[in-house]
Amino acid sequence: MATRQTGTLARFMMAPSVILLLIWMVVPLAMTLWFSFQNYNLLDPTQTGFAGLFNYRFFYSDPAFFQSIWNTLVIVVGVLLITVIGGIALALLIDQPIFGQGLVRILVISPFFVMPPVAALVWKNMIMHPQYGVFADIAKFFGLQPIDWFGQHPLLSIVIIVAWQWLPFATLILLTALQSLDGEQKEAAEMDGAGFVSRFIHLTLPHMARAITVVILIQTIFLLSVYAEILVTTNGGPGYASTNLPFLIYRTALLGYDVGGASAGGIIAVVLANIVALFLMRAVGKNLDK
């Protein structure tokens, strides 16, 4: 039983780590907020002073702004769809007792350990390249014209690459959920005459609901900031077709060295992330409270 005394003590003991975490979060956020109202360009020391809302207006009026927000959302939703559906399917498959199960599982999980720029380079030069990629070879074998993936379908290509990287994560989490499903329940359902489909809908899926929620929430956090894959493959192009918000901020911060403008972009990204998080928590987060 926690008395008032132990409660105070506990809070006191927790304080250092909580304060540290708070500083860790608040200081960079406050600095970003501060810079976003300043005229601050690293390459031009003559620009100084309070900028008001100018940085925000300038970032918002960027011709690529709305498309970049749309692209950010397309990447998040597209990758989530592929990884959750594909993850469930893969988890169901490798949950079956087969020969060499351990090895198969390791192989399925391994893409997650490949660094994003490396994965993107391999995809770009060895798989999707219209001259010497594997896809081009397959297309040529069937007598078809190879697809120029990054030229014709830049955003789809990025989604495929990122989904490939995150599929193992989803599979892993969902597989653990599946393994915790009681075997007796399955048998009982089978004896009651439930087929595979109804067993999946009424037993397996509800059981995995929490795990799916976790997958969606964690992935969303990372997918909102996809960047390396874009830099390595398309550089945001052609046009603005594969520019997302993080890439737009990169362009402002590290090519323009415009600290003020990039900070304003960062704040806009934080706001966007919070909006997405709000909707997500509304939509799927309640699963976690059960």
């Binding site: 360009n41 690293l42 390459l43 031009d44 020391p45 300038f58 009026s61 011709p63 690529a64 770009k124 030069n125 390249h129 219209p130 001259q131 081009a136 190879p146 120029d148 993936w149 990054f150 030229g151 014709q152 493959t233 398309t234 550089n235 945001g236 192009g237 052609p238 046009g239 603005y240 077709a241 520019t243 362009r251 402002t252 590290l254 090519l255 323009g256 060295y257 415009d258």
Partner: protein, 436 residues
Amino acid sequence: MKLRTLILGLCSASALAFAANAESITIATVNKGDMVRMQKLTDDFTAKNPDIQLQWVTLEENVLRERVTTDIATKGGQYDVVTIGNYEVPIWAKQGWLLSLDKLGADYDVDDILPAIRGGLSLDGKLYAAPFYGESAMIMYRTDLMEKAGLKMPEKPTWEFIGDAARKMTDRANGINGICLRGKAGWGENMAFLTAMDNSFGGRWFDEKWQPQFDQPEWKNTLDTYVKLMKDAGPEGASSNGFNENLTLFQQGKCGMWIDATVAASFVSDPKNSTVADKVGFAIFPDTGNGNHGNWLWSWNLAVPASSQKADAAQKFVSWATSKGYTDLVASKEGWTNAPPGTRTSLYNNEEYKKAAAFAGPTLAAMNAADITKPSVKPVPYTGGQFVAIPEFQGLGTTVGQLFSAALAGQSSVDDALAAAQTAATREMTRAKYIK
């Protein structure tokens, strides 16, 4: 056990303290072949200067640029010698971020540096960076395919000839593309090429009042020619090809012509990596009869930031690494073809070098044809060549590069890309207060 650890710790601590007596300078450099070779050869420097120790920070080009720019702009003082391009040198020198190099030593022979290169590294007659290697751009072409097409490369080809030759050399059934050009978006990727091409078409980025010129006929002509040429005679997926991708294509024999940096000449004529090594010819960057051959000039240079605490030792190193002696050192250890090209007149007067490197002559011709003080035939308020030497160019060039690569990929029309580029450039230049 504990005592031993303690003693060991003390020993290493004192060893460190002793080492710190010698002055140690930090050098930031780029992970290119010539620079990696320099690191291997530094024993020669440390033998001559036992009181100076070298710390290396070797990074990929873009990362290096980010780190060095941030450090130097915030006066961090992390680096004593930085490796930067001739794009940065005049801008940074003007900001007072670089020390002028006046202690390079008596036998350094500044006048031996190629005039085109030296001009780009000087401000008000003072040298602010020493060139490590330099390059221009030229045409590399397959002599066998040119012959098969029944053509002969003229001494000074025009774009008309190049277009005609590229279309005649194209043989898609056998995987041969008449011409390979950069298409990947980026200020140092497709925009380097397109800016040089526009120069040779008589165009310019800005007029004297810093108004962007994408609404002018020269740019329209440039981009039209480029997009049509690549459609008729270029490789699949050209909009994501940069220098390295085109190099691979050319080495595999899939390109009839390739217009890119002169440094590629040694790679395509190296039989170890290139399947077409014995069938490569070189020619100067094409023009449109106006005598402007693009003015492509790039050099990697060593400079000393104003924030360095060890400027004298740093200059000693810069002097060593860019001296004639260093060239001789490389030649004696790794052969003449590996000598850092494009910085000194004496190298191109060297008979042994000329014999070993067939591309020496064309490279020198290309470099001498470039004038970065006067990039366009029309008057311009900036210096540059395949770039515009203003701080805003990295961001702006990348934006415009994205738009143009969309036109190449067929995702937008040439007119739309130019209109969007004009809008983006006007917006950026107004913000930076060039346009009043």
